[in-house]
């Protein structure tokens, strides 16, 4: 007995915000933003719940599933629509899923945390779990702060994890270092604060260490990975990880040029983009790796299909 990722879905708000849109009112430029982040445009709008419902519905539709087929919803988000109740309760209601639902928050590493938790729930007797990452970071970002406004954006992605005869979850690693709070945080009612260079440095290190642990548990090396799906925060971080993991850019899913950093949504959005482009084949080994405020980190190796 094991578990597999059966399929995926994605959802983005309609409003496109380009680098030029920021250059029109902030002291920044398309070149500066592109050179340092790799981001060219992003989407703003919607609520965490509405985007989560759209991504969840997309995943269910692609797989021909109804709400009755889902017995657990895990919503990874760092921007819930309200304090109480959990946003996943609304999402479950809208999608008509049965059984349980909960939110989890491990910042930008949250989606990979949620995948590992979903795998555990399969062992607890669940059959099919809808795992959604949805965030609306534009709501907690100061749009007049040029250092953060250009980075954070909105979106959602989802996958369905289901019971299977063969095991597809081959190796994982989760971690947290709460002493790193001062370098990346957002207080209630406040805006995102980030010490960019320190986050960059730590992000590269934790992604490598965490990925290597997951790879080791899976019994493979970077050479065996068909697709790396990293958290989409900054292209320069991804390139630094590519080099150190020995996984080239052409085996890496990149969507941040069109989405910016969407926190929990970034990994499933990158996965969906790569899948729709025909870059996922049955039997492929996929490495998910994320890092976020906390700092948190999480990596997972799965066999696709």
């Amino acid at each position: 007995m094991g578990a597999r990722i059966a399929g995926y879905g994605a959802a983005l708000p309609e409003k496109v915000v380009t680098n030029e849109d920021f250059a029109a009112y902030l002291d920044t430029s398309d070149d500066w933003i592109t050179e340092r982040t790799g981001i060219r445009q992003r989407r703003f709008g919607g609520t965490t719940g509405s985007l989560a419902v759209a991504a969840g519905r997309d995943a269910m539709n692609r797989l021909g599933l109804t709400g009755d087929d889902i017995d657990f919803v895990i919503l990874s988000t760092t921007t819930p629509d309200q304090t109480v109740p959990a946003t996943s309760a609304d999402v479950s209601n809208e999608l008509g899923t049965r059984g349980a639902a909960m939110d989890i928050n491990a910042a930008c590493a949250g989606f990979v945390y949620a995948l590992v938790v979903a795998r555990g729930l399969i062992d607890m007797g669940m059959n099919r779990i809808l795992v959604i990452g949805s965030d609306t970071l534009s709501r907690i970002t100061d749009q007049n702060d040029r250092s953060t406004a250009v980075l954070f954006a909105d979106g959602a992605g989802a996958v369905v994890v289901e019971r299977s005869d063969e095991e597809s979850f081959l190796g994982w690693d989760l971690g947290v270092d709460g002493s790193a709070r001062p370098i990346l945080y957002c207080d209630h009612g406040g805006y995102m604060y980030m010490e960019g260079r320190e986050v960059f440095k730590r992000a590269v290190r934790v992604m490598i260490e965490s990925s290597q642990k997951a790879l080791k548990q899976a019994g493979v090396t970077g050479d065996g990975i068909a697709l790396l799906v990293p958290h989409q925060a900054n292209l320069r971080i991804i390139e630094a990880a590519n080099q150190r993991l020995g996984i080239e850019r052409d085996r890496t899913a990149i969507v941040l040029d069109r989405t910016g950093n969407t926190s929990s949504a970034s990994i499933p959005l990158a996965l969906a983009d790569a899948g729709d482009a025909g870059r996922l084949k049955n039997g492929d080994l996929v490495l998910f790796t994320g890092f976020g405020a906390g700092m948190t980190w999480a990596s997972l190796v799965v066999r696709w299909g």
Binding site: R36, R197, E198, K201
Partner: protein
């Protein structure tokens, strides 16, 4: 480790990380002006130097480090 040997190893890191040539790595060379290196390139260079020399350079100490010479002095000051 003497200063020349340390600079040699420092120089190898800079060549590799910044994609520059050996003769560009001189004390007065400015990261932004001469080496086309931005703030994230500098962070990557420091990360490589931390690994090379088994040292830790806190982010706060990078304020005002804008030339090869200043970066080397910072690193060399951390060697026992």
């Amino acid at each position: 480790m003497d200063r020349d040997e340390a600079f040699e190893r420092f120089s190898d890191c800079a060549i590799k990380v910044l994609g520059v040539t050996k003769d560009q790595v001189k004390p007065e060379a400015s990261f932004a002006g001469d080496l086309d290196a931005d703030s994230l390139d500098l962070v990557e260079l420091i990360m490589a130097l931390e690994d090379e020399f088994s040292i830790t350079v806190p982010e706060s100490e990078l304020e005002g480090v804008d030339t090869i010479g200043k970066a080397f002095d910072l690193v060399y000051g951390k060697l026992g």
